[in-house]
């Protein structure tokens, strides 16, 4: 009996010293204290084989062993828990370090102008618009005449243009695509047009001879200025947040009548007035208006039956507002430390 007790105690000490996880410890508990087959449990059953006078002695010895095993397992359990709490690997002894950097092909980042363009596009797609595109190399007809911008009119001044030859130019806005699309389609028309545009402006922190615009056009029966306001206000709230307020100011564009510029409540100060909004609480975001009857006519659409609205915005401008970028040239310089910052 003494030998058996000694053997159990030795096996236990060996096992407990190697235990380094809760799982192993649980196995040890079952092996020694398990209700059915535990070594210590079983030895109690063998108490009947010893002589009656030795029974109290061995009863005490077995109980001492049971106490020892229970105590040691508890101690070990606390020790392991402590290690887990401290973040030390349960197998730290083998030196596997889960904190080493991952093996991964880092997913790259889209250009901030792409992110903003895609965000704006998806907001309009949700409202039923379709994306279409058109050529950057245009003719005077599509860039000017069809859009009711006569030759030699001062309104062309804001549309100064790069020419490739007498007929061809680099479009100064995305609006020519309106005409190209209308020529082939009858209403309902509901499109947005992202793309590059060109104006001979000297480059500085806020001007670039190439930049990106996004144009929209919606034509159907009974479309009014109220719908223009509705769609563009929803857009502003989706892009800048539900609390964004909008303001529409009368303006002049040759291709719309009436025309309006849309301001949003300053996205920095919320309208209280700050440096970004020049202390008036509003920031101009886009130009818009009801499509001019002459433009509809150029697109073979009967202005007596149909009406519609159009709008246009600069993607760089919105990206600069959204991310607080103060120099437009950063977009085209493509320092990867700049480009890689943006993820939404």
């Amino acid at each position: 009996m003494d030998d058996k007790l000694k053997a159990i105690e030795q096996e236990f000490k060996q096992a407990i010293s190697n235990a380094d996880s809760q799982e192993i410890l649980e196995n040890i508990r079952i092996r020694f204290l398990g209700r059915k087959e535990g070594l210590v449990t079983n030895i109690f059953k063998q108490l009947g084989t010893v002589s009656p006078e030795q029974k109290p002695l061995y009863g005490q010895k077995i109980n001492q062993l049971k106490d020892l095993v229970t105590q040691e397992i508890d101690n070990k359990a606390k020790q392991i828990e402590g290690q887990i709490a401290k973040g030390v690997s349960q197998k730290a002894s083998k030196g596997f370090d889960i904190t080493l950097p991952a093996f991964k092909q880092t997913i790259a980042k889209a250009h901030p102008l792409t992110l903003v363009r895609d965000e704006i596009c998806s907001l309009f797609i949700e409202m039923g618009f379709n994306i279409v595109e058109g050529p950057e190399i245009e003719t005077e007809y599509y860039n000017f005449e069809a859009l009711n911008i006569p030759l030699e009119h001062p309104s062309r001044e804001s549309f100064d243009t790069f020419y490739l030859d007498k007929k061809h130019l680099l479009r100064s806005h995305t609006s020519p695509v309106q005409i190209r699309y209308m020529e082939n389609k009858q209403p309902p028309i509901q499109i947005i047009v992202p793309g590059k545009v060109y104006r001979p402006d000297a480059t500085d922190a806020t001007h670039s001879f190439m930049f990106h615009q996004l144009e929209g056009l919606l034509i159907d029966k009974n479309i009014t200025l109220a719908h223009l306001k509705g769609v563009l206000s929803v857009f502003a709230k989706k892009l800048f947040g539900a609390k964004t307020k909008t303001r529409f100011r009368p303006h002049f564009f040759p291709f719309t009548e009436p025309s309006a510029e849309m301001d949003v409540s300053c996205i920095i100060c919320g309208g209280k007035g700050c440096r970004v909004c020049k202390h008036n609480g509003w920031i101009e975001i886009l130009g818009s208006g009801m499509v001019h009857p002459k433009v509809l006519k150029a697109g073979n659409i009967d202005s007596k039956k149909f009406s519609g609205f159009a709008f246009g915005m600069g993607i760089e401008r919105i990206a600069m507002l959204k991310y607080g970028i103060d120099d437009i040239r950063l977009f085209y310089e493509n320092d990867l430390r700049f480009v890689k910052q943006f993820s939404c």
Binding site: P101, T114, I125, H168, I223, R249
Partner: protein
């Protein structure tokens, strides 16, 4: 335009706070920018759109203030009466208009015995507050009237006009004039001038001449008030590179109904301030046929366009203060509106509806969303979708997106060895640095690589999606393309490092793009020497002999031109081609039921034999049984002769109809082996 508030108050009694006025003007389309305090005065900067030349005057702005603030009356400034111009008096000068199209109306008026001196206090302060330069009392009066009435006028020293003759004509080639700013200017037939009997004495509508300028010694003044053709003035101003407050207004059309009044107003001030004696008649040479413009407006059309109902009486009360006359038309619910001469922008019903919306306030229009229309249009075109897909695929492979400027110098193109034919050059570039549209995405990509490497940003993997442009016969082409460029180390981590990117990294990325559109099967990679690539590593991908992509190691001389000292790998793919070749219909293959067997083979072949030729032989001999053929090793070195290399392939054999026996596999594999040895002159390793 700068507007002095105290000056404006000469014409209208403004009873509302400045802040309210600013908001009301802005809401009505006169966007007020900066508001400044200048010498006890408030000066607004108002942005005036090019369709509203009538707002380029204080009287015009006062009219607008009256409309948006209620019915307050305009205070008309004092002027001489508009006298009967026909007079029996002997005329002391003459006016002859030679170009009636360019100058359809010219009003001249003589004022004698003026006293020229600095301007009196009120005119001086007003002009100073808006930053206008002071000259003398006579010249200042014309400037004062320009801001007040919107009509630019000019005063000549009458005694210096040779022959007492005003001739409005085109300049002759070779003629010159020294303008009042002291600059001697060359003139030609495109420029309209005011001349005397001998020579030009003013550039019409733009700037007066120095010789006939009113000075302290001037006794008699000839006052000019005219209408000049906007296009002629604009062209002249552009040609001379000279822009003034005067031509700014003529280009936008001055009010034809205001020419005589402005003259009467200036004459009144010249009499009052310069103590001149105004001749009791004036000359008015008038070829203008000013038609009265009438526009009908249907009341229900207002709601149809702006979405709110506006009553007939409301329409009247909006249009009247703006200077329109409104009468009921014969047609029911229709008004006939007579447009005042200063509203050159109003010609159709929509223009009037805008006036109504503007004065009513855009804020009074309640927002609503258009009714939903189910339609069959796609959210975007196939090509747009393809671009998004390519972009996502490349981003997922760790390649960053860049967007570069499409205009560059021809040197940028030359430096990248881009062929000189088909280039698109601007005829009016801002500078030679941006005179050419890119015919390849390579130059701007190299510039980005150079910028980053200079700033110690290394191991670059970038792509750009954008157009390249070329000149064809009688037209220009733009081709949407994707460029991919790699430099430095490949994907690395703390265990695997310092592997440089190679042609094969680039090839893998290009293949991934093509695979994702299902065009891989038809593609052929062909060696083709392109000027901007290293001749050894220069290739194109063709489908039915059409090049859809090019890829290679950028020629060392090119990278050197761009100050880049490490190898750059560059590919450019045509997106429209990929879209047109993409697999549209697909049926699945059943998953193999029977096990496959792998066999390896290692060959020693001549160095010049391509891996592809071995692959082709294996495919041809093993046919459908070889389901996968992989090159798993390429060896050159001590174990093989100098001019040889070893290629090792792993071939997976599998049948779709039965389990292959050992004999069957060995038979086909031996055939493969024999074919490789005989056709490639290879030996087994």
């Amino acid at each position: 335009m700068k507007v002095s508030l105290t000056w404006l108050e000469q014409y209208i009694d403004i009873k509302i706070p400045i802040k309210t006025l600013v908001d009301k003007l802005t809401d009505a389309g006169l966007e007020v920018g900066a508001v400044e305090k200048v010498n006890n005065d408030t000066v607004f900067e108002i942005e005036i759109t090019s369709n509203r030349p009538d707002w380029l005057s204080l009287l015009g702005i006062a009219r607008e203030v009256a409309a948006v603030t209620g019915t307050r009356k305009i205070i008309q400034p004092d002027a001489l009466p508009q006298m009967n111009k026909s007079s029996k008096q002997k005329k002391s000068y003459s006016i002859e208009i030679q170009d009636k199209a360019a100058c359809p109306r010219y009003v001249g008026r003589l004022i004698r015995d003026v006293q020229i001196a600095p301007s009196q206090e009120n005119i001086k302060t007003y002009l100073e507050n808006i930053g206008s330069r002071l000259i003398n009392n006579a010249a200042d009066i014309t400037n004062y009237c320009l801001y007040e009435t919107g009509q630019p006028m000019h005063v000549f020293d009458f005694d210096k006009i040779k022959g007492a003759k005003i001739i409005v004509r085109r300049a002759k080639k070779g003629e010159t004039i020294t303008t009042i700013d002291g600059v001697n200017r060359k003139l030609d037939e495109s420029i309209l001038v005011i001349a005397d009997a001998e020579k030009p004495i003013a550039i019409a509508g733009i700037m007066g001449g120095l010789d006939t300028e009113v000075t302290d010694f001037t006794k008699n003044i000839l006052l000019e008030s005219a209408y000049f053709d906007p296009v002629t003035i604009r062209r002249g101003s552009r040609k001379l590179g000279l822009s003034t407050e005067s031509n700014y207004r003529f280009e936008r059309k001055v009010d034809t109904g205001n020419i005589v009044f402005a003259s009467c107003r200036a004459a009144y001030l010249l009499q009052d301030i310069c103590k001149g004696k105004v001749e009791s008649f004036y000359l008015d040479v008038n070829y203008l046929k000013d038609k009265v413009r009438k526009v009908d407006i249907q009341v229900e059309h207002v709601e149809r366009l702006i979405g709110i109902k506006v009553s007939t009486s409301k329409i009247k009360s909006i249009l009247l203060p703006l200077g329109f006359k409104v009468a009921n038309a014969k047609k029911k619910n229709t008004l006939t509106v007579t447009v005042p001469s200063f509203r050159t922008d109003v010609s159709i019903e929509e223009d009037l509806i805008e006036e109504i919306a503007r004065v009513e306030g855009f804020s009074s229009i309640i927002e609503s969303l258009p009714p939903i229309q189910a339609h069959i249009n796609s959210a975007c075109t196939d090509q747009y979708m393809a671009k998004t897909k390519i972009s996502n695929l490349l981003l997922g492979q760790g390649i960053n997106e860049i967007i570069t400027l499409t205009l560059m110098s021809t040197k940028n193109l030359d430096d990248a060895f881009i062929p000189a034919d088909k280039r698109v050059i601007l005829i009016n570039p801002l500078s030679i640095e941006q005179e050419a549209l890119r015919t390849s995405l390579l130059p701007s990509t190299l510039k980005v690589i150079n910028t980053n490497l200079n700033r110690k940003v290394k191991d670059l993997k970038v792509f750009e999606i954008g157009n390249i442009y070329e000149k064809a016969t009688n037209k220009f082409l733009e081709t949407e393309s994707v460029a991919i460029a790699l430099t430095g180390n490949a994907y690395q981590n703390w265990k695997d490092h310092n592997r440089k990117v190679s042609f094969y990294d680039l090839k893998g990325i290009v293949e991934n793009v093509l695979d994702s559109f299902g065009v891989d099967g038809n593609c052929k990679l062909e060696a083709k020497v392109l000027a901007y690539f290293d001749p050894e590593q220069s290739a194109v991908i063709t489908v039915d002999n059409k090049v859809i992509a090019e890829l290679g190691k950028v020629n060392k001389k090119v990278t050197k031109n761009y100050d880049i000292s490490e190898p750059v790998y560059f590919a450019q793919l045509n997106i429209a081609d990929i879209v047109s070749l993409q697999r549209t219909a697909f049926r699945y293959n059943s998953v193999p039921k029977y096990p496959s067997v792998n066999r390896d083979i290692a060959l020693v072949v001549d160095k010049l034999i391509s891996a592809q030729s071995a692959l082709d032989i294996i495919k041809q001999v093993a046919g459908a049984l070889a389901v996968k053929i992989e090159l798993f090793d390429l060896y050159t070195g001590d174990q093989v002769p100098d001019n040889k290399k070893s290629l090792a392939f792993s071939i997976e054999y599998q049948s779709s109809t039965a389990t292959l026996t050992e004999e069957e596999v060995s038979k086909v594999h031996n055939n493969v082996q024999d074919a490789l040895l005989s056709k490639l002159g290879a030996s087994l390793r």
